[in-house]
Subunit: 415 residues, 2 copies
Amino acid sequence: MINEQTANPKIASTIQRQVNRAKILRTLRTLQPVARVDLARETGLSRATVSSIVDELVLESLVEEIGATTSRGGRRPILLRVRPGREGRSAIGFELSRNNLTGVVVDLHGRVIATHRELLPAGQLEPAGLVELVRQQVERLTGPQAPAAHNLVGIGLGVPGLVNPDTGFVQLAAQFGWHSVPLKEMLEERLKVPVKVMNNVKAAALGEVIYSNDTPDHSPNPRLYLSLGEGIGSGLIIEGKLLSGASYTAGEFGHITVAPNGPLCTCGNTGCLEAVAGLPALVSRYLELARLEEPNRLTTTPGEFPFLTSARFLEAVSAGDRLAGRVVAEAAEQIATALAGVINFTNPELIILGGPLGQVGAALLDPLNQALRRRALPLPLSQVRLITASLGVNAAGLGLGATLISQLSEVVLSR
Amino acid sequence: MINEQTANPKIASTIQRQVNRAKILRTLRTLQPVARVDLARETGLSRATVSSIVDELVLESLVEEIGATTSRGGRRPILLRVRPGREGRSAIGFELSRNNLTGVVVDLHGRVIATHRELLPAGQLEPAGLVELVRQQVERLTGPQAPAAHNLVGIGLGVPGLVNPDTGFVQLAAQFGWHSVPLKEMLEERLKVPVKVMNNVKAAALGEVIYSNDTPDHSPNPRLYLSLGEGIGSGLIIEGKLLSGASYTAGEFGHITVAPNGPLCTCGNTGCLEAVAGLPALVSRYLELARLEEPNRLTTTPGEFPFLTSARFLEAVSAGDRLAGRVVAEAAEQIATALAGVINFTNPELIILGGPLGQVGAALLDPLNQALRRRALPLPLSQVRLITASLGVNAAGLGLGATLISQLSEVVLSR
DNA sequence: ATACTAAGTTTAGGTACTAAACAAACTTCT
DNA sequence: AGAAGTTTGTTTAGTACCTAAACTTAGTAT
């Protein structure tokens, strides 16, 4: 299904060339539509070099001419742009969650050109089964005859678990009972395209940060994506790169201690943020408060207890339920304690709140901002913008897709 | 005093050349003494290119031949090494502290070839006065006629305060009453060499990390230097680069909340680590405990109170004073709470304990390690090595010197 | 002595850049 | 309308820097 010959014509180019290609692509992306002269002026390269590189990029389906524009006193400039849609090249990002596989096709502009979401089959999901599911979705998303398959830059997959993003090796994915699965290898073997595998929350972090349009893609400053849900995780992006850490576990925000003598956490520590502000803790707290306030309402109907799910709790929050609001406000206080520490320590320029609890709006944001003003240092706090995630279930897919796309204009200095 | 002409012959070289120069210098540093053939094999460059670049490096006093070695069956290889000592090139790193100016000359091997430490003159220190002091020390350290002055790569200065390391602009140095001082500009103007100005704790972080010889210089993984003293600061190094943050305040470890309802901190928050484990807090705690245990010893001689300085407290710790040990153990518990959070969140491979309190040894390390085992996640904890700082007062100077030296083999991809 | 081998240099050829000349496609001025 | 001037994009000539291969140098082995 994949034509290897045409897949990547820029195999052997010098470092010089790579750098200049990257310069041109970067400038093109930000200034498009734009003429060669302007690219030359902007990049500092000669017009000759720009022409030569643009020719290459056109051959590779990365760039296209979109006709001449109005004259500026002489010959009319020919406008160029990054080639959009299925005619240009594209990447597919997938997210594997407990019950779904969600795929997104991203074009060279970073725009979504197709999505597909499907339920996982019942029963235990084996790695080989996932590979097959991904293959099917790739076919569906690119078309059965895969007409533009040679234009596929690569595919990415976000997995809930411990993944080494360099090797694409899944060390542990507890939800599926996986240990030591070379998922990247398996997918590349089957699909014959470059594959990127990483943790799903981290992929979502990349997506939300890149698509926030709040800060330049390669800003050196830390940007943090916080996922607030059953668990509390995060992705920290520094110099445009996701921080992995020595054992690929960087970003464990949920196990920061916020109440030294607090409740026992599943990790063995006491007072972890997750133990006091994870959704299960909030549900318990809600029940506790409800019982205190109206001993009759809930204690007399014990059958109702198991039915207060996280989802229902969040509905109650959105509906303006007073008690639920109070529980969220308490959680916000705890989250702020950990977040203030991270703001002081890493001095980020952007924080994006995601995950189910991150989306509830003012019920969380107001008390959170208040507490941050008390707990964080004024200077770093003044530099950070706190916003809400906006990509929903496509976040991880978009992050992976955009990452693959941006690798097209990356310089590889082989050590 | 400085000859600008000979200062930097590698002004206009292509990116290709820069990359290859860097490759060769890196390999040379790790494999020296080494012959051209081996450099060629190791770097993948042709012997011709290696010869050409080595010629350049020799001209620039960066590299020297040290004669032929034994034959391996044919012509004897000529060994090369990075040129050591004053004959090679060198950099000078300074640290400005409350009372001293400490200078260190570092050669291309990263070795100290001279140091000088002097008391600051009495009275208010003005920026212009500091510039003059630095100039004098540079002259003393390189010799009055500055014979090797053209071999000076640059000078660095660590300042206790808020510094933008890119511009060398000191935004605030409270100890000296400085606001908005363009110190780098002033020093470059006066000394006619490249100057790097940064925060002193961060410079020390670079020094301790680089000289720890524990991890490769450009390890992607986070490495943390913790300075425990009156205040508690840190420097976080990721991908071999110091993290600055959006307002150049990254590394504020002392204002992580470890006791949400604890004592008020100078920053306005309650329960900051610094407020419970900074040296002043430990001294107070010691007096409190002493009073409880032996109401007579201290309360009857009130004149003794002001004499318990931080220095004396640390002596008591070293002397094995039981109470002091208990106070340090309590502090270790608090430090571990914050540190566990940082270990979980950044997943570092190395943590270096510095500052006066960081040096007390087992009194701190034992309870700290114990508490970390309780509080930090097992996987990231298992990847981190916790060691003690080893460079003393020269840490910042060495960090700056080594940074300047390593900039010689850095590739600048002007965006 | 002769043959072999390895290290380092020189040479010929290729890639990729720039400056400058040129060609193409406009506008403006008389 | 025709000549002159502008601007864009391409071609050309020259330069920097790489590699492969030939060559020189300086040894060892027989």
